[in-house]
């Protein structure tokens, strides 16, 4: 239907991943651009982009359970932690007081996701029974139980304050820890990580988009919009709530497994309450219940310290002359962003994007 992008003649077209060729070509351009950034961008920006990709995977995970299925989950960081430590144990090197098996990434990456999903399923009998605020509070308890476990299983996590090395980057038996030579071009470790994260991010993004239009995705939305009504039309609440938690944890686990390979080490204190809240904030700021929202949110969250630094630099404000240090300014702005997005733009960055897009659709007409 050339020239009539909004005319859908069958259901398959309406629910297609890319509703028209423009979207598809923009997607391909963005993907090609992102891959090429690996060879253009400086080390710092590669680091930021890698973090954003991995953060958005975790945020997509939380979005399944909070955005699509409408269940509050304040313990997403706990599942990320489970994934991190699974991968660290399976793929890391054994140390003086930590275990490690040095397995291939092909093994530790999926297993990190699966172990997190299994933990999600184990607690499902509790989380499924509860709803609303009580669920939020139980998941809050989970954060504390998780950080207690992480600090006390010293042989797995290295213990509080000490931490351990995470999984080694070894793919198809090739050790990528010190970069990789392809013909004349030498790929640094951070570039490899960037490419891997980007690939994962694209796969997960397409996966989420696909999930939304599947039977499960529709069931999640139905549960979110009214669980009793959903049950009445024959949706198995237990199965779908549990699967939402498991899927969400799976994404979190994968993201966690990759995320700490960037820095190389992980300390149990990382997975505290604020860490879990960050994911909630990313989903809220980005736009809950949308596919693009968590991606926007994750980029926003990861980039905005850099943006603040850039602004300070542009306006030539010295860090010493400020009453608060940079970390505190970031946290204050972070809190303010959560509050102001909830009050002024509940649909988040996605909502702003949506309105911009619609504005330019009919530009220069405002209707």
């Amino acid at each position: 239907m050339r020239g009539r992008p909004n005319l859908y003649t069958d259901y398959n077209k309406e629910s297609a991943i890319f509703s028209n060729n423009t979207q598809k070509s923009w997607f391909l351009i963005m993907v090609a651009f992102s891959f090429s950034l690996c060879f253009i961008a400086s080390e710092y920006w590669i680091y930021l982009l890698t973090s954003s990709f991995l953060m958005s995977i975790a945020a997509w995970g939380l979005n399944i359970v909070s955005g699509f299925a409408g269940q509050i989950n304040l313990a997403h960081g706990f599942f990320v932690g489970i994934g991190t430590y699974t991968s660290a144990v399976l793929g890391g090197i054994a140390g003086a007081n930590v275990v490690g098996f040095e397995l291939d990434m092909l093994l530790w990456l999926p297993l990190a996701g699966i172990s997190a999903a299994i933990v999600g399923l184990i607690i499902a009998p509790i989380t499924v029974r509860l709803k609303g605020l009580n669920l939020g509070l139980v998941t809050l308890a989970l954060v504390f139980i998780g950080s207690h476990l992480f600090s006390n299983f010293k042989s797995l996590t290295g213990g509080a304050g000490l931490g351990r090395k995470v999984a080694r980057l070894k793919l198809f038996g090739i050790d990528l820890e010190n970069g990789y030579q392809i013909g004349d071009y030498f790929l640094e470790k951070n570039q490899i990580l960037y490419l891997l994260s980007l690939t994962l991010c694209i796969l997960c993004g397409l996966g989420i988009k696909n999930l939304v239009r599947s039977r499960a995705g529709r069931a999640y939305s139905a549960i979110r919009d009214g669980d009793i009504a959903a049950e009445a039309i024959g949706i198995n609440i237990f199965r779908y709530k549990a699967s939402a938690f498991a899927l969400s944890s799976f994404f979190g686990g994968i993201s966690g497994a990759m995320f700490f390979t960037v820095s190389g080490g992980v300390e149990p204190g990382t997975f505290n309450l604020l860490y879990s809240i960050v994911f909630v904030a990313i989903v809220v700021i980005g736009g809950a219940g949308t596919v693009l929202g968590p991606l926007f949110g994750a980029f926003f969250y990861t980039m905005f310290p850099a943006i603040i630094q850039l602004l300070l630099h542009v306006f030539e404000i010295g860090e010493q002359s400020l009453p608060l240090n940079l970390g505190q300014i970031e946290r204050i702005l972070f809190g303010l962003f959560i509050i102001s997005f909830l009050i002024f733009e509940p649909r988040g960055l996605w909502g702003i994007w949506f309105r911009l897009r619609n504005y330019f659709k009919a530009w220069p007409f405002s209707y």
Partner: protein, 306 residues
């Protein structure tokens, strides 16, 4: 037996602190269906205000205490007016996340003020008796803990009279029962929201003082103690004030007993539960109770319509 009594006393004084924060939670929840995650932050901010008045400004301690508690109430009122009022009628989830944002704001400002070294509140409690404590039959009683216990009981009594007898107390009960009907009866529901937050702020500041007073000091992690009032509220039921008190007693006593009996118990079962298990115990109890009673022990079951 001495250990048992000691654990009981410490557990009860913790329960007193928790119940102050917990009642604040319940008041806010009952009046406007908001679970305020900012409550623990308000408690430590209250302690911070008292400390800055008494130590930095040199105001006499008892005056600083009263002023600090009042100012925290006002701060709480301001938070309600600016951030919470636009959110009336929004989904509970969004509002809960919003209070997390407020919590981050408050604590970041407070943490930057506290700095690296913990702050004293300048209270005279450590000078009473033998370093702030007396010894009765082998049980070490801290004056601060005893004061917390007495204050909490007094406040609970005052509040129960307030809710039964006073005009505003009755108005608050009416509002929590049905907002629209209360509005139709001429109750200023907006003012009731503000009042609930004001009282909750005052209670939080009291708790904040008892958490950080004496040798306890105000540090960056003090709020975690106040946060443990959340499991107490959940155990008791989000919308029940007696429940909040009972929940606090359960949580406080558990924490006290676990702190004293963990090591003998670990020797009995043969493996370690990990250091700091007494701080985790409240959350575990909440977990177990919610499995059996999703609405808490005293909470009213929510009736849902499609």
């Amino acid at each position: 037996m001495t250990i048992f009594l000691q654990a009981t006393v410490e557990g009860l004084s913790l329960a007193a602190i928790y119940s102050l924060v917990a009642i604040g939670f319940v008041l806010i929840y009952k009046s406007m269906d908001v679970l305020s995650f900012a409550q623990p932050a308000l408690a430590v901010v209250g302690a911070g205000i008292i400390s800055s008045l008494a130590v930095d400004r040199g105001i006499p301690f008892w005056l600083a205490l009263i002023l600090g508690i009042f100012l925290t109430g006002v701060l709480s009122l301001i938070i309600e007016r600016t951030f919470l009022r636009p959110m009336v009628g929004e989904p509970v989830f969004s509002v809960a996340i919003l209070t997390i944002g407020i919590d981050i704001l408050l604590r970041t400002v407070l943490d930057s003020w506290i700095g690296i070294n913990p702050r004293y509140l300048g209270d005279p409690f450590p000078t009473f008796g033998n370093f702030g404590a007396i010894n009765v039959g082998g049980v070490n009683l801290k004056f601060l803990e005893l004061t917390a216990l007495v204050t909490a009981i007094l406040i609970i009594l005052i509040l129960s009279v307030f809710f039964k007898r006073s005009k505003y107390g009755v108005a608050m009960r009416a509002t929590s029962f049905d907002q629209e009907a209360a509005l139709a009866q001429g109750i200023n529901v907006g003012r009731i929201f503000g009042l609930a937050w004001f009282i909750a702020g005052i209670l939080a500041a009291f708790a904040g003082f008892f958490i950080t007073g004496g040798f306890n000091t105000l540090g960056q992690f003090s709020f975690l103690i106040a946060l443990r009032a959340l499991p107490a509220v959940v155990i008791g039921g989000l919308d029940s004030i007696p429940g909040a008190v009972v929940g606090s007693i359960i949580i406080g006593l558990t924490q006290g007993y676990v702190a004293y009996y963990q090591i003998p118990f670990e020797n009995l079962i043969g493996f370690s539960l990990g250091s700091g298990f007494s701080l985790l115990a409240p959350y575990l109890i909440m977990f177990v109770i919610l499995i059996f009673r999703p609405d808490g022990l005293f909470g009213t079951e929510e009736v849902e319509r499609v």
